[in-house]
């Protein structure tokens, strides 16, 4: 159960932090339709967080709710991957992060749909439907922005170079067996987007294990947890 609890935190913290990051865009996207789409993705991810962390609290058996887990742990107890902690940057960076994540996320959920634990399989099945749409959308945007203007191409390549070192960590959770299909998928898309996959497979680690998060996570938590920290025990 400790290992299961950790696993559920890894899933739930990852959707939580990415959902939070996307929600930072509110009212600031380049196009109104994108504002709506980003909010929609954030909403899905927050919903998935409620399921993952809800189950985590259940499995832990200490009476902690999803909200307790989200709002009352310090950074080092979080188990999100480093990729989702990375700041939004420009719109291209946000979309590239989403693209790299969505394609892994979808593969991971499809694998989890067959999990022996029915509760996990059920959450995965529900989430996979939403994430199918996320992946379609981020794929489409990566192609349009990569194969757009020379400026947009340069921005998307910079985003890819910046974020690619955070991809390797994802497969420490899902298993390396998902990697070849992932690579094939994203390489095809990136080629269509006229972008070049970095040669180095160097990967940062420390998010899923909690051993070494980025400095960004702590700053994010100061906002996210503010009210619960400032008014302990209040009902909202």
């Amino acid at each position: 159960p400790a290992a299961l609890f950790e696993f559920l935190l890894r899933m739930g913290d990852t959707t939580l932090i990415l959902g939070h990051r996307l929600s930072e865009w509110c009212g600031k996207a380049p196009i109104l339709e994108e504002d709506i789409a980003l909010a929609n993705t954030a909403l899905d991810l927050i919903g998935q967080t409620q399921m993952w962390l809800g189950l985590a609290g259940e499995v832990e058996g200490k009476g902690r709710t999803a909200d307790d887990l989200a709002m009352l742990r310090d950074a080092w107890d979080f188990r999100c991957c480093l990729l989702v902690e990375q700041p939004n940057g420009d719109f291209g960076q946000t979309i590239m992060r989403q693209f790299l994540f969505d394609n892994w996320h979808l593969a991971m959920l499809r694998k989890l749909e067959h999990h022996a634990d029915e509760r996990i399989a059920a959450i995965a099945a529900k989430a996979a439907k939403e994430v199918t749409y996320h992946a379609e959308r981020s794929t489409d945007l990566v192609i349009r922005l990569g194969d757009g203007t020379s400026q947009s191409q340069a921005r998307m390549q910079a985003a890819l170079d910046l974020l690619y070192p955070y991809v390797g960590e994802l497969f420490t959770l899902s298993g390396e067996d998902l990697r070849p299909a992932y690579d094939a998928t994203i390489e095809a898309v990136l080629a269509e987007a006229t972008l070049t996959v970095p040669e180095s497979r160097f990967a940062h680690h420390g998010g899923f294990s909690g051993a070494r998060h980025s400095e960004h996570l702590g700053h994010l938590l100061t906002q996210m947890q503010w009210l619960q920290r400032a008014y302990p025990g209040a009902q909202w």
């Binding site: 929600s23 930072e24 009212g27 380049p30 109104l32 709506i36 909010a39 954030a42 709002m71 291209g92």
Partner: protein, 311 residues
């Protein structure tokens, strides 16, 4: 003049005017101004609530707030589309917002300072908005009326959510209750301002009313809002920050203090507490996003060229 009379007759008969129908220039211009301002208000209105999305106290509250702000962006979209049927583009309207030629509702130039403001905005601001918008479902311009029908359905949901936050706060800790009262203190008069200046100072009114672009007078709606809201405040155990507030048996409504109209006109001039920040935020979003819009256009052009070549 004959066309004008025929046009007025159609309106008086309760017919809807559609984009391809003939209409007087003044009708078109007034509608563009009004619908555009309404659309901008939805968009700028995302910001004071967006300010608390990253600080929402629970996952549930964060999700509800996200959904609400997303709805507002959707309303903006409906309304821009309605305005576009009158021959102005969304981009043009955006430029006009950013350079000050078009306005947005004065309420969104006020800051949201505590979580209780998320309740108060839903309760008071959406409440006032609905009061304004419900009659507009019967407005004479078809696309606008149809947009308002969709908007109103969602707004009343938002208002209930806002009231629900207020209830939680008012039945919570003493700090939460104090937060709720503070929110009401700050947002009461700005909410009353949402109905526009007093009838005696209101320009544009009579022509708009005969065109059924405006369905009720400002003071009429304001009175209705006060009469609806005061009992709700009592139910919450909150005090309206107006010592002169009193039930007037004779008129069957409350007497209440006028907002500080100097402050209102200051806000309209761009001197609201957050006026500069709001426009700066939207301008940054617009400018920073220029490369995205350009890239999408460039990509679409490449694809259509490729398609033509392939044919």
């Amino acid at each position: 003049p004959e066309m004008l009379a025929a046009f007025q007759a159609r309106i008086d008969a309760g017919e809807k005017i559609e984009p391809k129908d003939w209409m007087p220039e003044g009708y078109r211009k007034t509608l563009i101004r009004q619908i555009g301002q309404h659309a901008h208000s939805e968009i700028v209105g995302q910001l004071p609530e967006g300010n608390w999305i990253t600080r929402a106290p629970t996952l549930e509250r964060k999700a509800i707030l996200l959904a609400k702000v997303q709805d507002e962006a959707g309303h903006g979209l409906y309304l821009y589309c309605a305005a576009e049927t009158l021959g102005i583009s969304r981009d043009e309207m955006t430029e006009m917002l950013l350079d000050g030629r078009m306005k947005y509702s004065s309420i969104f130039a006020y800051p949201t300072l505590t979580w209780a403001d998320m309740g108060a905005v839903g309760w008071l601001v959406d409440g006032a908005a609905i009061m304004n918008q419900v009659p507009l479902q019967r407005t004479s311009f078809g696309p606008y009326a149809r947009a308002m029908i969709r908007v109103c359905k969602e707004e009343s949901f938002h208002q209930r959510q806002g009231f629900d936050i207020m209830m939680k706060m008012c039945s919570g800790t003493p700090e939460q209750k104090r937060m709720a009262q503070d929110a009401l203190n700050r947002l009461w008069f700005p909410s009353l301002m949402m109905f526009g200046p007093s009838d005696k100072d209101s320009v544009h009114s009579s022509q708009s009313m005969s065109w059924k672009i405006k369905m009720n007078s400002n003071d009429e709606l304001r009175q209705k809002f006060v009469d609806q809201t005061v009992p709700q405040a009592e139910y919450l155990g909150l005090t309206i920050p107006d010592e002169t507030l009193a039930w007037n048996e004779e008129k069957g409504g409350y007497d209440f203090a006028e907002p500080d109209w100097d402050e209102f006109f200051d806000v309209l001039k761009g001197n609201g507490p957050c006026s500069t920040d709001r426009i700066a935020t939207r301008k940054a979003a617009w400018d920073d996003g220029a490369w995205v819009r350009e890239a999408m256009n460039a990509h679409a052009a490449k694809k259509s060229t490729a398609n033509v070549a392939a044919e």
